[in-house]
């Protein structure tokens, strides 16, 4: 498969995987392996000083996966910038999945605060992958300030509703000069394949894998779907038409005219 290039770095896999909601570190590690992913997202939170648990990072092979810290929990640009800088201090990695979601019910991203934070972070040397609503104009504005990708949502985070933003995603993909990573709401491998067939450069999946009864198997199903979708896109699909078009010859029938 042709390589995904983000900020000059090459990836064989076009599936990014989130690490939330897995029942255990072992189940997560197995699912990451089966997914073939090379980029995994993590969040930053306060250490629970009263009840110190094992660190989940132990289960993620840092040589194999690029850690992509997110700024989840940030409600405005200042909080997102602060979290990004903490993540950089913790990992030495300057990549960040920028998320600013002030609304707790739908977790929809705030476009104004996201653009503001993106501008600050790009100037500060970060590789910024912003999570946004599927807004073609916002995507161009983010591209203009120098983000590495855009990550428009398919439907609300964790909702498994699939490509509810299809029409806007088509415009975004058509117009974008940076990779388009469809993020959030992809509930089934067919949703991921659909996004890839439309020409998305990559997809990010978390809940649909982590909350499946068999996460490792579902991770592999998403891997195959993403590969199939990409291959189909690169094969330039045949046109759809209203009427039938016979695939067998229309001559030499066993009857007299």
């Amino acid at each position: 498969m042709d390589k995904l290039i983000i900020a000059g770095r090459e990836f064989k896999s076009r599936l990014l995987v989130g690490t939330g909601k897995f029942a255990s570190c072992e189940i997560m590690a197995k699912a990451l392996e089966k997914s073939g992913t090379e980029i995994v997202t993590v969040a930053l939170r306060r250490v629970n000083i009263e009840n110190e648990n094992d660190d989940m990072l132990v289960a993620i092979d840092r040589k194999r996966y690029l850690l992509l810290p997110n700024t989840s929990g940030a409600r405005d640009a200042d909080e997102a910038v602060r979290l990004s800088r903490l993540a950089r201090a913790a990992t030495g990695i300057n990549w960040v999945k920028l998320e600013v979601t002030p609304d707790p019910y739908y977790l929809l991203p705030d476009p104004i605060e996201t653009l503001k934070a993106a501008e600050i972070l790009v100037k500060d040397g970060f590789v910024v992958l912003p999570y946004i609503n599927a807004d073609p104009v916002l995507c161009k504005r983010l591209e203009d300030v120098g983000t590495a990708t855009v990550m428009p949502l398919a439907s609300p985070i964790g909702s498994n509703q699939g490509l509810k933003t299809r029409a806007a995603l088509e415009i975004i993909i058509e117009q974008s000069n940076i990779p388009v990573v469809v993020d959030a709401g992809l509930g089934l491998p067919s949703h991921a394949a659909d996004a890839m067939e439309m020409g998305a450069d990559a997809v990010l999946v978390n809940t649909a894998i982590a909350a499946a009864a068999e996460p490792a198997e579902m991770a592999e199903a998403f891997k195959l779907a993403v590969e199939a979708g990409r291959k189909a896109y690169k094969s330039r699909p045949a046109a759809a038409s209203q009427k039938a078009s016979a695939s067998s010859p229309l001559t030499g029938f066993l009857r007299n005219i």
Binding site: T19, L44, R46, V47, I49, E52, M56, R85, L86
Partner: protein, 69 residues
């Protein structure tokens, strides 16, 4: 008694506050390698935990990666 505010909660240190971030993490039994700290809003990198002196009344944030999408 000397206190530090750690992750938003006042914590008392009967024997005096720890001298550095490394000492603090030891007392709290937290693995330093996976943590990043802020002292009064200023980020302290792991490599500097042993040099980062603490003073009473400071506000410390101890943060680490957790699962997330």
């Amino acid at each position: 008694m000397e206190t530090l505010k750690i992750n938003g909660v006042e914590k008392e240190f009967a024997a005096g506050i720890p001298a550095t971030v490394v000492e603090l993490l030891k007392q709290l039994d937290i693995e330093a390698a996976t943590v990043v700290a802020e002292i009064d809003g200023q980020i302290v990198e792991q490599a500097k935990f042993d040099q980062a002196a603490l003073r009473k009344g400071q506000s410390i944030e101890l943060i680490r990666f957790v699962p997330g999408g």
